[in-house]
Structure formats: structure tokens, C-alpha cells
């Protein structure tokens, strides 16, 4: 039985091509629910034998109207939403969003908050890179390496749950500060986890770095040049894997990065192996930064003393009328953000995570736009897929680390 062409079926997408470009080529549909795509993404590919001739990448299956929903909630209420953008490193989203709002309000956060945010952002970056590498390795059959890495990731999740009360989506950032200070013994446990992580990532290096199967699958697959990566808007580990040492933490330092000693690891030719290695090295650099930050962490208040955004102490809310009114106003009307617009970018685990925020004054944003690295990376993903084998889609896609939450918003 011959099927009608793809564009004649009821279909949520319209493929860019429905006919093969040469004799004997076949058009196949991969995803959106496919065990090897680890992300809800649909790839319509023209293949000739096992070779991918061209691809048409579709996203949007996880679209949930993040930006629309933001326009009818107060500034504070958005924090749980931004958590769910890149859910592998939710704290980075929190801090990027909070910083954008703080810029509009003209708030300077306290030193303790600044260092703690930097520390937690790096900690989240480690968790994100561990997830990415673990999943990519598992898809190539390296189950042991996967278990080593997610063991550490789980330690990190449990450890962050001690601090924030949640494993994945923390809602821990606050405009002008953070939800709560570190519990007792948190920094000691942090040292233990980093120590164990060094052991486990060392084992993964030993297992896969010089492994013939791994190298054959990763080296010279999904190659992209610096010029091409910049043209397609790539940032983060993908851009660095091409040899360009571009990192917002170094180039336009924010939070406490200007005071830290760290390297920006780069790759050689921008293939899957380089992307793997850049992420592994970034984990080391993040651990190095965290160790410096633990020593630098100053005492003092966590939240700014500003009644426009910081919630009053709960005991005062119950005992004096000014704090009660203040609390009520902050919850019901939201923090009053002056009119203006701001674009603020942080180095997310996958690349430049930017928030473009427009305020017309009042407690609710006029517009919140998230510049999500994953979405932009999907726009150029075909450059890394076309011309390689069908099976190469799996490791290449894994090394791009598309996160549906921020890609589809």
C-alpha cells in the first residue's frame, strides 16, 4: 500500500520537502516521540541509504505559552515559570530573570547574594553538563559512564533540595535576593560532593576518552566551523567547541565572575568529541570556581533592604500593620517596576540565556521574552546533521543538548 505524501495527511507540521531530491532517496520522520531523540523534537529527514541528505527540524511540541502567561502574573509569580525553561539548570534561569528585573528597578544585590548566586549558578551548570554528557553517553551504549555521572547529579539534586526544598525546579531566586540562606553543614557537603565528582568524572575520562568505539562515533561527526556557528547564532559550549573562546562570564562579567580565576576551555574543530570534551572541562572549571567562592562567601544579609521587592519578615507581618500592608501589596499587586525595557544575558549551561523585559510600570510585566539558546541551536541543527549517517543524529543531537522547556517555551 502506498501512503499519501506527508503533506496530505492531517499533520501538525508542514514539512519543507515531501519529495526526494534524487532517485532512491527516502523521506523518514523521526520523532516527536522517539526514544533516541531525548527531547520532543521532530526531524523530517531525506536519507539515501544510511546517509542523511537534508533535514527539516521542527520544535514547538512543548509550547505552553510561557511568554503570554507572563503578561498576566506579577513579577514574583514568574519565578516558578522561568524555572521550567531549562529545567536541568533552573537556578541559572532564576538568576538571569531576577537580574533583569533588578536592573529595571535599579537594585544592587547584597555581596552575599552576589557570591551565592554565582556559586549556585556554577553548581547548576555542573548538573546540566552532567545530564547532557550522561544522556549522550548512554545513547551510545555507555551505561556505566551514565550511571557514574547521574549518581553525582543525584547527589547535587538532593543537596540542592536541602537548600531549596525541591530537586529540579527550585523557585529559589527572589527579586533583590534569594529565598533563604544556606542550612548548617551545606558547604561541607558541597566539598564532599565535588570531591566525589572529581573521582567519578575521572573514571568517565578513563572509560571513554580514548575508547575506539566512542571516538569513531564522535570524532569528525557533526562538525561545524566557528564562522558557521556564529552565523547560526550558536553560543555556549557549541561555539566554544569550534575553538572560539567566547564566554559571557569572561567577556561581559556579571555577578562575581570578574573576581574569579577560571579558564575558558575550547575545542579544536567543533565536532561531537569536542563538545563532549568542552563540557567535561567546564565541569572542572565550575568546580574550581565553586571552591574559590566558598572561601570568598561573605557574611551579611541575603536580600536587599528595599520594600519595593523584598518581603518583610514573617514575624513582623503578624505583629505590625506596616509590614502587613507591605506584604499584602507585594502579593496582591506585585513589586512596582518602573517603566522601561532591558535586555540582560547570562551564560546559561547551553549558551546565551537572555531576558528581554518591557515594563510599563506596575506589578505585572508588559512583555517578557526569553532568548533561549536551545531554540536558536535548533535553527542551525541541520548544519550538523546533514551529510552524516542516520545513526549520527543520535550523538549529534545529544551533544547539542536541546532542552524542550526553553526551546519551545
Amino acid at each position: 500500500m502506498s501512503l499519501p505524501p506527508l503533506d496530505r495527511l492531517p499533520n501538525p507540521i508542514r514539512p519543507a520537502f515531501t519529495e526526494g531530491s534524487r532517485d532512491g532517496s527516502v523521506i523518514v520522520n523521526i520523532g516527536p516521540s522517539h526514544p533516541a531523540t531525548h527531547g520532543t523534537i521532530q526531524i523530517v529527514a531525506e536519507i539515501y541509504g544510511e546517509r542523511v541528505l537534508r533535514t527539516d527540524v521542527h520544535c514547538g511540541y512543548l509550547h505552553r505559552g510561557f511568554e503570554k502567561e507572563c503578561e498576566s502574573h506579577t513579577w514574583h509569580n514568574l519565578i516558578p515559570y522561568v524555572d521550567r525553561l531549562n529545567y536541568c539548570s533552573a537556578l541559572i534561569n532564576d538568576f538571569a530573570y531576577c537580574e533583569a528585573v533588578e536592573k529595571l528597578m535599579g537594585i544592587e544585590i547584597t555581596p552575599r547574594c552576589r557570591y551565592l548566586r554565582t556559586l549556585l549558578a556554577e553548581y547548576s551548570r555542573i548538573a546540566d553538563h552532567l545530564t547532557c554528557i550522561a544522556a549522550a553517553l548512554m545513547e551510545l551504549g555507555a551505561m556505566t559512564a551514565f550511571l557514574y555521572l547521574v549518581t553525582i547529579r543525584d547527589y547535587i539534586y538532593e543537596h540542592l533540595a536541602d537548600l531549596t526544598g525541591a530537586r529540579v525546579t527550585y523557585s529559589y531566586g527572589r527579586i533583590g535576593g534569594l529565598a533563604c540562606d544556606l542550612p548548617d553543614g551545606w558547604l561541607e557537603r558541597l566539598g564532599e560532593i565535588l570531591h566525589q565528582m572529581d573521582t567519578f568524572t575521572g573514571r568517565v575520562h578513563g572509560l571513554v576518552d580514548r575508547n575506539r568505539i566512542f571516538i569513531d562515533r564522535m570524532r569528525d561527526v557533526g562538525v561545524i566551523s566557528t564562522a558557521e556557528a556564529v552565523n547560526w547564532g550558536f553560543t555556549g559550549p557549541i561555539l566554544r567547541s569550534t575553538g572560539a573562546p567566547r564566554d559571557l562570564r569572561r567577556d561581559t562579567p556579571y555577578l562575581a565572575y570578574a573576581e574569579l580565576d577560571f579558564e575558558v576551555p575550547v575545542g579544536i574543530k567543533g565536532d561531537n568529541y569536542d563538545r563532549y570534551y568542552v563540557r567535561m572541562r567546564e565541569i572542572d572549571e565550575s568546580a574550581h570556581m565553586i571552591r574559590q567562592l566558598v572561601d570568598m562567601l561573605p557574611p551579611g544579609p541575603l536580600c536587599v533592604d528595599d520594600r519595593r521587592c523584598t518581603f518583610p519578615d514573617k514575624a513582623l507581618v503578624y505583629s505590625e500593620i506596616e509590614s502587613l500592608i507591605n506584604h499584602f501589596k507585594l502579593v496582591m499587586e506585585g513589586p512596582q517596576v518602573p517603566p522601561g525595557e532591558v535586555y540582560s544575558a547570562h551564560e546559561g549551561a547551553n549558551g546565551e540565556l537572555g531576558f528581554y523585559i518591557v515594563s510599563v510600570g506596575g506589578g505585572v510585566p508588559w512583555k517578557v521574552h526569553c532568548r533561549a539558546p536551545s531554540f536558536v541551536h535548533m535553527g542551525g541543527a541541520h548544519r550538523m546533521l546533514d551529510g552524516y549517517q542516520l545513526a549520527d543524529i543520535v550523538p549529534t543531537f545529544g551533544s547539542i543538548n536541546m532542552i524542550g522547556g526553553e526551546c519551545d517555551r
Binding site: M1, L3, P4, R8, L9, P10, N11, P12, I13, R14, A16, H58, C59, G60, H63, G65, E67, K68, S72, K103, L104, E228, V230, N231, W232, G233, T235, A244, R246, D251, T252, G340, E341, V342, Y343, S344, A345, E352, G354, Y356, V358, W366, K367, H369, R371, F375, V376, M378, G379, G380, R383, D408, R409
Partner: protein
């Protein structure tokens, strides 16, 4: 960010024309909609803004022209950001595409078309990207009814439904 480079870019940006300002560390350039390609080419070729970060729009329903179309550029040499803004009316929400200059414009213009209905003249691929075929309206416009039910993609029935 290099302060000297920032000043240099700012001076040369004033030469491009349009209104320039600095907002929270970002250079802002407001231009006429006809000059989008010209300005983007100058930014890329003369000032080195090689990364197109973002394309989006802002809806001001009470204002005429109604939409702001907003681009963010970044230079990987001087680490300076610039925001280019232009205004387009509801009757003809059209600006020129930047796909010939920046590959990344493809997806981002599709998203902006999805969400605001901005038409990018010269971009032949404005298929839905975050929405789906058959979605009606542009959800980020302020007059979009949020609780509206959208048509569903029909189930496949008949012989073509079988594998």
C-alpha cells in the same frame, strides 16, 4: 565589556542615522522600517556585529504604528550589544528579512511571525514553528483572547492511518 570599544561603536552608530541611546548597557537604535537591511548590513560589515541574538516584537495596541520589531545584535570581538527597533503598523506589519545576512534569523523570524504576525519580506519559510499548522491568530498580540479554544489537528482515519 571594553569601554573604549563601546564608545567607538556608539560614535559610529550615530553615523548610521536614526536615534541612538544607551539603555542598561545596551546601545539602542531606532530606525525607519525601510532601513532594516541597510542598517543590519552596516552593523555586520562595518561594525562587526556578527551575532544576531534575537528577533521579537512588542505590541502597543493603543499606539499607531502598533508594533515594535526588536533585534538584538552582539559583537564577538568587542562584546557590545545593540538593540535595533522599528515601528510597523497593524495594516502592513512588514519588515525586510535578515536571512541573507544571518542564518539564525530564519528560526527567530518564524517565531516572531507566529507570535505577532510580523511578515518578514523575503523570508520564504514563515511556517509555524512553536505553533502548529491550523493555529488561528497570533497569541502574543494583546488582543488575542487567551481562553480561546484552538482547532485540533484531526485524527488520521481511513487506510492512510495504518502503518
Amino acid at each position: 565589556m571594553d569601554a573604549a570599544a563601546f564608545e567607538r561603536v556608539r560614535e559610529r552608530l550615530a553615523g548610521i542615522g536614526g536615534e541612538t541611546a544607551v539603555s542598561h548597557g545596551v546601545l539602542v537604535l531606532e530606525i525607519e522600517p525601510e532601513r532594516v537591511t541597510e542598517v543590519a548590513r552596516a552593523l555586520k560589515d562595518e561594525l562587526g556585529f556578527d551575532l544576531l541574538l534575537d528577533v521579537t516584537a512588542v505590541d502597543w495596541p493603543q499606539r499607531e504604528p502598533r508594533f515594535d520589531v526588536v533585534w538584538h545584535f552582539y559583537t564577538t570581538r568587542h562584546f557590545v550589544r545593540v538593540r535595533v527597533k522599528t515601528r510597523v503598523p497593524l495594516a502592513d506589519p512588514t519588515v525586510d528579512t535578515l536571512i541573507t545576512l544571518y542564518g539564525s534569523a530564519r528560526y527567530m523570524e518564524r517565531e516572531c511571525h507566529d507570535m505577532y504576525g510580523i511578515v518578514f519580506r523575503g523570508n520564504d519559510d514563515l511556517r509555524p514553528i512553536l505553533l502548529y499548522e491550523g493555529f488561528e491568530g497570533h497569541p502574543l498580540r494583546k488582543d488575542y483572547p487567551k481562553h480561546r479554544e484552538q482547532p485540533l489537528v484531526p485524527y488520521r482515519t481511513g487506510p492512510e492511518a495504518k502503518p
